[in-house]
Assembly symmetry: C2
Homo-oligomer: 320 residues x 2
DNA sequence: AATCCATTTTTGTCCAAGACAAATTTAATT
DNA sequence: AATTAAATTTGTCTTGGACAAAAATGGATT
């Protein structure tokens, strides 16, 4: 019993040449249905078939799909990019708008960190970040260093200047640093109890951690559930831990309507007394608001939002 | 334009009553194809249809699917459980074998922690864990407290005694603790450079973190990429960071053949001088070994494995 | 009773080709 | 220039069939 495709696969030193549709779905984030539809409509991807008639994707096509994914994530439409040859796609990547609004002054730390990441100088990177944190304090560190660095790394991935493993490594370093910082803060239990998480499908944990850092600095009592908590479990957790506020984090990639539907759904399930906050950069271009949901467009708004809550809450308890 | 199903859905105060197949896939982890196949073969799930002929699953069926998932994860087969009524399923959950081999003496800490988790007494839980860590040291804490607690929580989920949000919360607490402990260890750079990660599809980050803790204690230089790194990126990262060892972590849920295929694949891509270690409880029942891959059946074996590496490596450099 | 091998059943995943609604773009009108 | 309407694009869902890997079963042998 031998497999022709696996034999042809291992030709030029690369044994991962050929993968099935499940692997492509996993590695590109494009659903099987989408992959088949593109093949039907645009003629790409164009996988060969194994002895059983099933699709087998060569590594080059997988790589091209990743590039296409980047372009679509940054606003282009499938019909305009999927059937284009590879060099045209590379050309288009150059013309993407780089949306990194940087505050002058602290941009050097983020730039330096990015350079160290690319050079794989991990020890120095950690030192630099750790030093910045100590010098600026947690709040300013998150706003002025981590946030722009996040953008740099994110754009670097879209433009292909950052490998996946470098992004992973970056996320680990920041996580280590922020968790350590958050962990060493006392937390006197006086502030509001805030339940932090993301909904299923949203995997971006750094945004959540940055929010937790900013909230902890303001003496809020944070209870983080990590990423991807189902709606029903958020409701249960809010009750079990007597949360005053449920705070969700979205990355910009999420379709706006999905966000609205989820928020409305969750709002309906939560007790009325519990506030629902939603952070994510997409609010900057949001067309409508969701009733009963507080939009937090940027991390910098967090102190003000907390101050408002405290004012309203103290007034409320005084009235009682 | 009105939707009959959504109207019947919002009857008893629950607005999430009806969901489409995508949501079910997301919330249960069962693929769309599997859900349709079960419906065809066993008559369950049995969703109604919306005006467009698409499946709409009521909340009860979703809940039952979650229970079925637990039973299958613990070894039962779909044909025996999918078509059974709900009360039979509950009865079967009671009869599941509890496979927690506990070392006498330290089991009280894990049990107490589990109890505190169920009572949502977060502050006390953190204190207890933190105290155990200080008393036992990181290594023993991981082996004697975290590992059995992991089992307790995992089994609790399978048996339905633990909610998803409680598991999330647990994972966050442990993560916080371990990261903090790992972060405060000096790391003199003398030990082997170990690249730690999991392959795509493997999301269990606690196992990885526990391994990192045990390795760090033995003065290894750990470079963690977090979870779900593609094979090609592992190879790149190993080169970029001059790793001596690549260590992968698997949870017991992964099919054995998948593990073997991935390992063989990765082994072929990695430089021959780089060792490949693979940890995961499935080795305890493993039928075969993979050439060129070192199996680490339990965390307790880590010190010995590191000692072996050091012996071989020092002999090697002396011979040169 | 335990181990091994061959046969049968179970089960997850894949396929094709069509359909449709939501999102987006384009065209037309005020 | 701003709205509105029509056309296009695009992701996701549908059915019913197919097949291979995994698991269970049934003997035969040690």
């Amino acid at each position: 019993m031998f497999d022709i495709d696996n034999m042809t696969a291992s030709s030029p030193g690369i044994s991962t040449s050929c993968v099935n549709i499940s692997a492509v779905e996993r590695d590109t984030g494009l659903s099987k249905d989408t992959l088949r539809a593109w093949e039907r409509r645009y003629g790409f991807p164009n996988p060969s078939r194994d002895s059983n008639g099933e699709r087998v994707y060569p590594a080059e096509q997988l790589e091209k799909l990743r590039i296409i994914r980047r372009l679509i994530d940054s606003g282009l439409r499938p019909g305009n990019v999927v059937s284009e040859p590879l060099d045209v796609l590379y050309a288009r990547m150059q013309t993407l708008p780089s949306s990194v609004p940087r505050t002058e002054g602290e941009f050097t730390a983020a730039d330096d960190a990015f350079r160290l990441l690319k050079l794989h100088r991990l020890v120095e990177l950690r030192q630099l970040l750790s030093h910045s944190l100590m010098r600026l304090g947690l709040q300013r560190f998150v706003l002025d260093v981590v946030a722009p660095l996040n953008e740099l790394v994110g754009n670097g991935w879209i433009e292909g200047r950052i490998e996946i493993f470098e992004e992973h490594l970056y996320a680990e370093q920041i996580q280590q640093l922020l968790r350590h910082a958050i962990g060493t803060m006392p937390g006197d239990g006086s502030g509001p109890r805030i339940l932090l998480t993301t909904l299923p499908g949203e995997q971006h944990k750094l945004g959540l951690l940055m929010a937790e850092a900013c909230l902890s600095v303001e003496a809020a009592h944070c209870i983080s559930l990590g990423v991807q908590t189902p709606v029903w479990d958020i409701v249960q957790a809010a009750r079990a831990h007597h949360a005053d506020i449920v705070a969700l984090s979205y990355s910009q990639a999420t379709p706006f309507n999905t966000v609205c539907a989820n928020l409305a759904n969750l709002r309906g399930e939560l007790d009325a007394a519990v506030e629902l906050w939603c952070g994510g950069s997409f609010w900057q271009t949001a067309r409508r608001t969701v009733p009963g949901v507080k939009a937090i467009a940027t991390l910098a708004e967090i102190p003000a939002a907390l101050a408002t809550w405290r004012r309203e809450h103290s007034a409320c308890s005084a009235a009682q």
